[in-house]
Every structure is written in structure tokens, then in C-alpha cells.
């Protein structure tokens, strides 16, 4: 421990090295830490948002997605970590708006900071913030425009607009219309009652332009490892029957630990034959079932490959589990664990099967499935990082469309809705005659961060644009309530008419989650960090060196912490 406080004897309550910091300074310090994190993702917001390149032990990621960046930053600061959680929760819940939620939470804290410094009790802030968030959500729901009553075709078009808004800020924005269409098509293929995300497969093939990406109304997967004889199999079928297995089709020992003892050499051949008969029997049954395509999760050996090739049957072994699952959903085939008593009903079918060259890979495509409750997006792009980012972007878009299908309510984007709520809240705050008035006003001001950040990222004069927006929103007849930032001209425009739409749910969730996170951080006045809690983490994260570094960092932090408590 650091020598300090002169002669005063020190009472040691906690374990050596424990970091305890408390009181107002701790609260302020937490807020500052959060601000530092927010600053990292701040620039990714909006259509002119930038990407981050993060290089860690697992490789390189280039991303614009708030949740991905927060996850990869590997934040250890306990308070700042709650922001990561908020972002991840938003990702899990709605899939988009992960950056907005972090920025909002950061801004709430920033607005709260001067009050805390002036000695306001955090609790009263929390109370008002919670109240404001309830009001904001109520107002938002009033403002939301429902698409429920629209007819399907029209609705699809509207969904596309939502998807486009999401894709706007991503690397694939150049082709947003193309991808939005693709995403909407893919999601509308799904079973409307569950909208199971697993049923949309995303496959990545390096090479080609973005526009070479395509949607398969069925299943696609990469050619599996094949044995000699595979090329002799037919590679395309119309209306094939598909048999899906979960057994190995290989000449092998049937029982692992069995041993055969022979005392008569004459019986030798019969044992050999018996083994062959077992496998041939299996293969015969597969063929006899009338299947044209045999898929298995387990290996299909060379013997089987050649046997099927002889009988004009296509086979693929070692197909990945989720591909198999989607094949069964799409074609109606049922996974068989035995070839005995194959029921013709257990076979699936699709309109067309084909093996096709995609970039440097060959892909198996099952198209036109009768119960097409599944779709596969095959993404193409220049580099691995590029496709990975495209994948994340499309994931966001898919989530949005999925959400919007379920809760078909949209709000205008481009900061319009935030401005509108901010105006409503600051007006509403005047009804209070106590401190709440101030706090709710601060909350309202914090909401304006979204349009402000949009402007900043696009290189516009934020103050100018914001004032224009305030003026529009203050119009008495309410005609300006849909006005948001126009990133193309640097002015303002009616974002509802410009089709910059976001599902209301995203915003509701973002406001609620951000408020919760901010309140959580505000309510903490002491951090007790156990020295041990960090070490195993650091050791598992990197080499022993890292543990030493971690130790050093902690030692210093601890020392300062004590010093500060004085």
C-alpha cells in the first residue's frame, strides 16, 4: 500500500489491492468513463457514419454495428461495461439501433453530470429520467404511423423502406435498394407465425461484386467434402426426391469394441461378405426408396459415393447441422436415423436442384421448395472483412424487417422523432414546479443528440441544422413534426416523405434501454473491485504477460483509489 496520511493508522477492512472508490467523485468518474466509450462509437451513427477497424487476437473486424464494436472493444471498466450490455441487449431484442442506444445513454449521463456536480441527489435525477422516458414512449407511440391495415404488396414496399434506412449507414449502402429488396423477400418467405431467424441462412462467398449476391428461395450450401466418383454423379435434377439421413454410409466396423475370433480359415470370407452386405443393404434401401438426392449429416464414404454415382443418385455427406435442418424445413423431408422401412412420405422434394459454381466454390442449391419457409442469402464481396460486415448489416436489416412485420408501426427517422419528443418533453416539463422541470428538460435536450450527431458525422454545422429543426418542430400547426436531418444537402427535410423510416419498436426500446442504463450508472456510488476478479480473466484473455500488465494496472488504480478517498 502507498504510504499516506502521515501518522494516521490505517484500518484494513478489505483484502489487499481491493479497489474501492465511492461517493460523488466515483459517480462522476463513472460518467466520464462512459463518455469515453460513447466517444468511440459516436462517429458510426447515421448514413455518413464511419467504420472502426478492430484488431484483436481473433482477427480483424471492420464494422459499423454498435453492438459488434462494443463487444470487440473488450471493455473492463465496470460502469462502462453496462453500456456494452445495453447495446447487446438492443441487438438481441430488436437487432438495430445499437449505436443510438449507446449514444443516448451517454448523453443522458452527460446531461446529468452538471447536476451531480452541483450536489443534486442522483435519486431525484433517476426519478425524473424514468418519468421522462415513460412520457417519451407514450408520445412516440402516439406519433407512430401504423401500417397494419395496408395490404401485403404495399406493406412489402414499406418494409423495404425500413430495411433501406437501416442499411443506409452500412458499408453496403451503395446497393441498399438491392439488398433491402432481398431482405424483404427473404423474410416474407418465412413462416409468419414464428419468423424464425434460423431459417434465413446467410452464406458468404468471397469474390465478385455486391450485386452478384443472390437470394435462393430454398437452401444453399457449399459442396461438402467428396470422394472419388462424386463427379460422375448427376448434378442437376428437376423435382428430385430428397432423402435426409443421420447415419454414416461407410464400410466400417459396425460395433466399436467387437472382436471376431475365427478358428476356421474357411469362414474368413463369410465375415468379409457380411460386412459388405450390411453396407450394400443400406445403400440398396436408400436407392430403393426412390430418392434422387441423399444428404447426411455424417460422412458418406467413397464406396457409397460410387454406388450412388452408378445409380444416378446425388449424395452429399457431412452437411452441417443447420443446413440439414433448413433442408428438412424447406423440402418437407424428415431426418432418418435408419434406412429400414423408409417411408416415401419421409422424402422431401423441391422444384429444382443444382450444383452451381459461385466464385471459387461450388454450391448445392435447392430451389422452389414447396413449403419454402426458408431462404438463403448468398453474399458476395471483395474481401473477407467486407462480407462479414455485409453479413452483420443484413442481419440488422433482417431483424428490422422481422420486427416491423410483427409490429407494423414506423416513425420518421433522421432524428425527426427525437426532435419531436424533445419538444414535447420540454413543453411538458413546464407543468412541474419542482426540480423535475430542470431534469426533464435536460432529458429532452439529451434526446437531441441523435440529430446533432447525424450532422456532425456528415460534416454539417450541427447548431445550424438543429435550430432549423427546432423551428420546424415548433410550428404551431404541427406540420413540421416529421422534419429531420437531410444528410444529402445539409439541410432539413420531411423524413417521412423521404422514406427514412424506422420501426417504432426500435426507438421505444432504445429510449427505454438507454434510460435504464443511465439510471443504473447514476445509482452507483461505490465500486468495490476485488483484486482477484480481474486476474483469471486477463490470464485467459492473453498470455501470462497480459496478467502482469493487468496486475500493474490494477496496482496503480488501487493506489490512486485509496489516495482519493481521503
Amino acid at each position: 500500500m502507498m504510504p499516506m496520511m502521515g501518522m494516521q493508522p490505517q484500518i484494513i477492512l478489505l483484502k489487499e489491492g481491493t479497489d474501492t472508490s465511492q461517493g460523488k467523485p466515483q459517480l462522476i468518474s463513472n460518467i466520464n468513463a462512459c463518455m469515453a466509450v460513447v466517444d468511440t462509437v459516436r462517429t458510426t451513427l447515421g448514413p455518413r457514419g464511419m467504420d472502426k477497424l478492430i484488431h484483436d487476437s481473433r482477427g480483424v473486424t471492420i464494422s459499423n454495428d454498435g453492438a459488434t464494436i462494443m463487444k470487440l472493444l473488450d471493455i473492463v471498466h465496470p460502469a462502462a461495461k453496462s453500456l456494452v450490455d445495453v447495446s447487446l441487449a438492443q441487438d438481441a431484442e430488436v437487432g438495430d439501433g445499437t449505436t443510438s442506444v449507446v449514444i443516448l445513454a451517454g448523453e443522458f449521463l452527460k446531461e446529468a453530470k452538471p447536476f451531480i456536480e452541483e450536489g443534486v441527489h442522483p435519486r431525484s435525477l433517476i426519478k425524473s429520467f424514468r418519468q421522462a422516458s415513460v412520457l417519451a414512449v407514450e408520445r412516440l407511440k402516439e406519433l407512430a404511423i401504423s401500417l397494419e391495415d395496408k395490404h401485403m404488396e404495399e406493406k412489402k414496399d414499406l418494409l423495404k423502406k425500413c430495411a433501406m434506412t437501416t442499411l443506409n449507414s452500412k458499408l453496403v449502402s451503395g446497393e441498399k435498394e438491392f439488398f433491402a429488396q432481398m431482405v424483404v423477400d427473404a423474410v416474407s418467405k418465412l413462416d409468419p407465425s414464428t419468423l424464425d431467424l434460423k431459417m434465413v441462412g446467410i452464406k458468404k462467398v468471397q469474390g465478385g461484386g455486391l450485386r452478384d449476391s443472390f437470394l435462393v428461395d430454398g437452401v444453399a450450401f457449399k459442396k461438402t467434402f467428396s470422394y472419388a466418383g462424386f463427379e460422375q454423379q448427376p448434378k442437376s435434377f428437376n423435382d428430385p426426391k430428397i432423402l435426409v439421413l443421420n447415419i454414416e454410409l461407410e464400410l466400417k466396423a459396425e460395433k466399436e469394441n467387437a472382436e471376431i475370433r475365427l478358428d476356421d480359415p474357411a469362414k474368413y470370407q463369410s465375415i468379409v461378405d457380411a460386412e459388405w452386405n450390411i453396407i450394400y443393404d443400406k445403400l440398396d434401401k436408400c436407392v430403393a426408396s426412390g430418392a434422387n438426392i441423399v444428404l447426411s449429416r455424417l460422412p458418406i464414404g467413397d464406396l457409397a459415393t460410387q454406388y450412388f454415382a452408378d445409380r444416378n443418385v446425388f449424395c452429399a455427406g457431412r452437411v452441417e447441422g443447420n443446413d440439414i435442418e433448413r433442408v428438412t424445413k424447406a423440402t418437407g423431408a424428415k431426418v432418418q436415423t435408419t434406412v429400414n422401412n423408409l417411408d416415401p412420405k419421409a422424402l422431401g422434394t423441391c422444384a429444382r436442384f443444382e450444383e452451381r459454381q459461385v466464385g471459387a466454390e461450388r454450391y448445392n442449391l435447392f430451389m422452389g421448395c414447396p413449403q419454402a419457409r426458408t431462404a438463403t442469402l448468398v453474399l458476395r464481396g471483395g474481401s473477407e472483412q467486407f462480407i462479414d460486415e455485409a453479413d452483420r448489416s443484413l442481419h440488422d436489416a433482417i431483424m428490422i424487417v422481422r420486427r416491423a412485420l410483427k409490429h407494423a408501426q414506423v416513425v420518421p427517422g433522421g432524428g425527426a422523432i427525437e426532435m419531436c419528443i424533445a419538444k414535447y418533453l420540454s413543453e411538458y416539463s413546464l407543468q412541474f414546479s419542482n426540480k423535475s422541470q430542470l431534469f426533464i428538460k435536460a432529458y429532452a435536450k439529451a434526446l437531441e443528440v441523435i440529430p446533432r450527431q447525424l450532422c456532425n458525422n456528415a460534416g454539417f454545422d450541427a447548431t445550424d441544422v438543429l435550430n432549423k429543426l427546432r423551428q420546424k418542430h415548433a410550428l404551431a400547426d404541427g406540420s413540421g413534426k416529421n422534419f429531420g436531418v437531410d444528410v444529402n444537402t445539409g439541410g432539413v427535410c420531411d423524413t417521412y416523405d423521404a422514406f427514412v423510416w424506422e420501426p417504432a419498436l426500435v426507438k421505444v426500446n432504445a429510449i427505454q434501454a438507454a434510460t435504464e442504463a443511465a439510471c443504473l450508472i447514476l445509482s452507483v456510488d461505490e465500486t468495490v473491485r476485488n483484486p482477484k476478479s480481474e486476474v483469471p480473466d486477463a490470464a485467459s484473455g492473453a498470455a501470462a504477460q497480459a496478467a502482469i500488465a493487468g496486475g500493474r494496472g490494477r496496482g496503480r488504480g488501487g493506489g490512486r483509489g485509496r489516495g482519493m478517498r481521503r
Partner: protein, 536 residues
């Protein structure tokens, strides 16, 4: 990593191992990325075009590669910088998709970034630049569609295909022999192409090489070449019109896969076992004979006893043939792969016109050439060259040419090379830029300028005065509105690429533009780089 301090001067540890990470933010990050990408592009610049130079690369274990192929150079360079790696991937994906133009795409991306840098200095938002590039890219690809020409070819008339392949090969080490080489490639592709579906499975073209001999000795084998010899030295070296049996079972007594043990307690039993084993051999050979096979190709080995028996029965055999070759052989000869001797019947045999064992020079290396197969669905290009490095480079060059031929089978549209397409696109983009207001106007102009990097590099590498040659061609293109004028790299005396027969596929060109623009956007969009600081 830059530390954040609170008002008490106390640093936060926000990120794990914060002090061991470095971070570059904002415009510096963009500039640093551009710098890295540019230096990668600069390396490749001198390899572009028919007069481009080769690079010699030594791998960590001392293997030397000499190549002119952009994708190979970058891959072997082992770039560590992350942005540099993006360029490597860029080249690789051009290689995967098109197979040719791997140098051009990197040079173009480098030029685009270089021009973006000066725009950044003017204070433009990086994304606006990227958007301008995207708009320009669209204009350029539309222009490509406008100036493209289609040509028809058929199995008989391969001339146009050969000419395009020649353009690809002209920048390679085989430039001297581009005509025969191009013919080989085109014939190979057409042999395996499915012209109806416009699909070519490149797995069916095997490129096999052997050190020694002259490049001129390279030839197309309408069949298979395998790096094996007959199992017995006394077997005939040449077979005509043979029936081939392809086996995936060894000439051995069959073994059950289950663990087994034979208890022998008497001499009689031992004798019986020995006889049985012997009987197996004779039985196997007899079955082969009975089916009418005249050549046995076996995936596995067989011991000397079996070998002797085969020799004795006058049944030539090849052993230890790999799975891929087995498959190709089966497809070429029309044989079915037989997993068991019991199943060997006459209708499962394939047919080959001739099987020859070829020796090379004074070495003991021998290879089997199987030709005259009924079902010409698998071909081999047999490459000869002075040393391993040349051989490898020839293989890579042929791969490029084969890819070009394949692309033409898929889509028979072409544009003219020698920078003609780039200049024409550049002019089109410039014209379109004038109609655009806003920041994008500058970006599009920059794109047009960057497009000229290719003809500039071509001229430079050919020893021509780059600016004079480029401007001369540009002027003529404008005046004559003739998009077929390019840089006269080979000093033929004309700038008209139609006369020079320098073609490139539209597919490849478009891909170059798309990929380069894409990568530019990606690099321009990064404003924050976080990486371990001790990372070298």
C-alpha cells in the same frame, strides 16, 4: 491506446490491456490506411502489362517463386498491415471470380485512394468521396456495356477465344509462345465446357508439369497424365485400345473392418489359410481377366506376389493412383469405379485409345499418358519448362488464360485492352461528372483520373513516355470517338487495339471496377483503428 483522464487526473482503465493497444482516430486513420494501401499498389505497378516485370519472392523456408501474377505476388508477400491485407484479399477475390486482372485491380484501387487523399486534404468527407466513386463506377460500367463487342465462337471456330487468351498470356513468362499456349488453353476449356449451360468445371482440367525439356514441348493431352508407372518393369510400355478396369480395392486378401483374430492351432489350418490367401490372388487376377480388362488401375497397392501374378497373366497394372486421378480417369474412360472384385463385370470397364509410359530425358521419372478416351470430359495440360520456378509460373499463367477462356464461354462480351477501355470509361465519367453538382463532382473527376492509372502504368512499363502517350490516345479517342484506341505497348505501330488483337473480357473489367470501388469505400469508411501496439 490514448488514456482518458477524469478531473482528478486519474486514468480510466476502460479497455482490457489498454496500455498495450494503439489507436489511430479520425482523419489520421484514413490517411494511414491510404498510405498502406498505396504502398501495396506501388509494388504491383511495375508488373502490369505485356512489358511488366516479374517479382522474385522467397518464402520463409527458402522456396523461391518468380511470378508476374498479382494475386500470387501479394499472397507470397505476406503483408502484415491490416489495410494491406485488404488489398491482398481484393486481388484474391478477383483471382477467384475472374482469374485474370489481379494486378490491374490493385493498381486501380491504389490510384483511387491516392486521388481520394488529395480530396481529403481539401476537407471533403471521406464518405462523400466514396459515394462519388460509386456513382462514377456505375457510369463506367455502363460505358463498358456500351463499348463492348460480342463475338461468336463455336467448337470449330476458336480464333476469337485464342486471341483473348493471347492478351492475357502476353504479360507472362510464356509471352514468346503465347499463340500455341493460348490454343492449348482454349482447346482444353472447350473440351470440358458445357456450352448449353455455359458452365465450365475447372476441376476437369488438370495442369501437370515436369521439370526439363522446352516450353515448346508443352502440350494438351486429351486424356489424363498421371505421375505413375506400370507396377512391373517388364510390363509393356505402350498399350493400344485397351479396356480399363478401375479398382478401389487392393490386390490383397480382403480384411473385415471389425477387429478380428484367426486362431490357428494346427498345421493343417495354417496350410489352409495360406492356400486360401493364394487362392485370393489367383481369383482376383482371374476375375480381372474374365471381365476382359486389359489394364488395371488400382487406388491401393499390391504386394510383389500379386504383381508377379499380374505380370504372369499379362495384365498390366498401375498402383497407388490418387483419388482425384481415379475420378478423372473414370470420367474420361467411361469406366465405373469398382469397389470389389466380385462386382467387376465387362460393362464396368472403360476404354482408352492408348496408354503410354513416357520417360523424360536421363531421369528415371516416368509418367503415364492415357489418351484417346471416348468421353472427352477431362483433359490435362502437360507443361514442360527449364526449372521448377519457370514451370510454376507457366502453370499460373495458363491458369489465368484458362480462366479467361472460361469467362468468355460464360459471357462472350469483350472490350479492348491496352488501356483503351479505361480511357474510354475515364472520358465517360468526366462527362458525367460535369452534370453532377456537389462534392461528388470532384470525386467523380478523381475517379476518372484514377482510371488513367492503368494506361499510364502500361506506357511506363513499356518504356514509352507515359504522359505523352496517354494524352495522345485520349485526344484521338475524343476526336474520333473511337473507344478502341489504347497504348501501343508492343510497338506495333498502331493504337487501334482491334488491329493489335488485344482483348479483355467485359466481366473481368467490370469486376475490377466494382471490387476496387468497394475496397476504396471500405478503407475510406474506417476512422478508428484499434490494434495491439506491440504488433509488428
Amino acid at each position: 491506446m490514448s488514456l482518458a483522464f477524469d478531473e482528478y487526473g486519474r486514468p480510466f482503465i476502460i479497455i482490457r490491456e489498454q496500455e498495450r493497444k494503439s489507436r489511430v482516430k479520425g482523419i489520421e486513420a484514413v490517411k494511414a490506411s491510404i498510405m498502406a494501401a498505396k504502398s501495396v499498389a506501388r509494388t504491383l505497378r511495375s508488373s502490369l502489362g505485356p512489358k511488366g516485370m516479374d517479382k522474385m519472392l522467397q518464402s520463409p523456408d527458402g522456396d523461391v517463386t518468380i511470378t508476374n501474377d498479382g494475386a500470387t505476388i501479394l499472397e507470397m508477400m505476406d503483408v502484415e498491415n491490416q489495410i494491406g491485407k485488404l488489398m491482398v484479399e481484393l486481388s484474391k477475390s478477383q483471382d477467384h471470380e475472374i482469374g485474370d486482372g489481379t494486378t490491374g485491380v490493385v493498381v486501380l484501387a491504389g490510384a483511387l485512394l491516392e486521388h481520394a487523399e488529395s480530396l481529403l486534404d481539401m476537407g471533403m468527407h471521406p464518405l462523400r468521396i466514396a459515394e462519388g466513386y460509386e456513382m462514377a463506377c456505375k457510369v463506367a460500367t455502363e460505358n463498358l456495356d456500351k463499348i463492348k463487342t460480342r463475338f461468336e465462337f463455336s467448337k470449330e471456330d476458336i480464333e476469337p477465344l485464342v486471341k483473348t487468351c493471347m492478351t492475357t498470356l502476353s504479360s507472362k513468362v510464356v509471352g514468346r509462345l503465347k499463340r500455341p499456349m493460348a490454343e492449348i488453353c482454349v482447346k482444353a476449356v472447350l473440351a470440358v465446357a458445357d456450352l448449353e449451360r455455359r458452365d465450365v468445371n475447372l476441376d476437369l482440367i488438370k495442369v501437370e508439369g515436369k521439370v526439363g525439356g522446352k516450353m515448346e514441348d508443352t502440350r494438351l493431352v486429351e486424356g489424363i497424365v498421371i505421375d505413375k508407372e506400370f507396377s512391373h518393369p517388364q510390363m509393356p510400355k505402350e498399350l493400344k485400345d485397351v479396356k480399363v478396369a478401375i479398382l478401389t480395392c487392393p490386390f490383397e486378401p480382403p480384411k473385415p473392418k471389425t477387429k478380428h483374430k484367426v486362431d490357428i492351432d494346427t498345421v493343417e489350418k495354417f496350410e489352409a489359410l495360406r492356400d486360401a490367401e493364394k487362392a485370393y490372388f489367383t481369383d482376383m487376377v482371374q476375375r480381372c481377366k474374365d471381365s476382359g480388362a486389359e489394364l488395371v488401375i488400382c487406388q491401393w497397392g499390391f504386394d510383389d506376389e500379386a504383381n508377379h501374378l499380374l505380370m504372369h497373366q499379362n495384365l498390366p497394372a498401375v498402383r497407388w493412383v490418387g483419388g482425384v486421378e481415379i475420378e478423372l480417369l473414370a470420367m474420361a474412360t467411361g469406366a465405373r469405379i469398382v469397389p470389389r472384385f466380385q462386382e467387376l463385370t465387362a460393362d464396368k470397364l472403360g476404354h482408352a485409345g492408348s496408354v503410354t509410359e513416357v520417360g523424360f530425358g536421363t531421369t528415371k521419372d516416368k509418367m503415364l499418358v492415357i489418351e484417346g478416351c471416348p468421353n472427352l470430359k477431362a483433359v490435362t495440360i502437360f507443361v514442360r519448362g527449364g526449372n521448377r520456378m519457370v514451370l510454376d509460373e507457366i502453370k499460373r499463367s495458363l491458369h489465368d488464360a484458362i480462366c479467361v477462356a472460361r469467362n468468355l464461354v460464360r459471357d462472350n462480351a469483350i472490350v479492348y485492352g491496352g488501356g483503351a477501355a479505361e480511357i474510354s470509361c475515364g472520358l465517360a465519367v468526366e462527362e458525367a461528372a460535369d452534370k453532377v453538382t456537389g462534392v461528388e463532382h470532384y470525386a467523380m473527376r478523381a475517379f476518372a483520373d484514377a482510371l488513367q492509372a492503368v494506361p499510364l502504368a502500361l506506357a511506363e512499363n513499356s518504356g514509352l513516355p507515359p504522359i505523352e502517350s496517354l494524352t495522345a490516345v485520349k485526344k484521338r479517342q475524343l476526336e474520333e470517338s473511337n473507344p478502341y484506341l489504347g497504348i501501343d505497348c508492343n510497338d506495333v505501330g498502331t493504337n487501334d487495339m482491334r488491329e493489335q488483337n488485344v482483348f479483355e473480357t467485359v466481366m473481368g473489367k467490370k469486376q475490377q471496377l466494382f471490387l476496387a470501388t468497394q475496397v476504396c469505400k471500405m478503407i475510406l469508411k474506417i476512422d478508428d483503428v484499434i490494434k495491439p501496439s506491440d504488433y509488428e
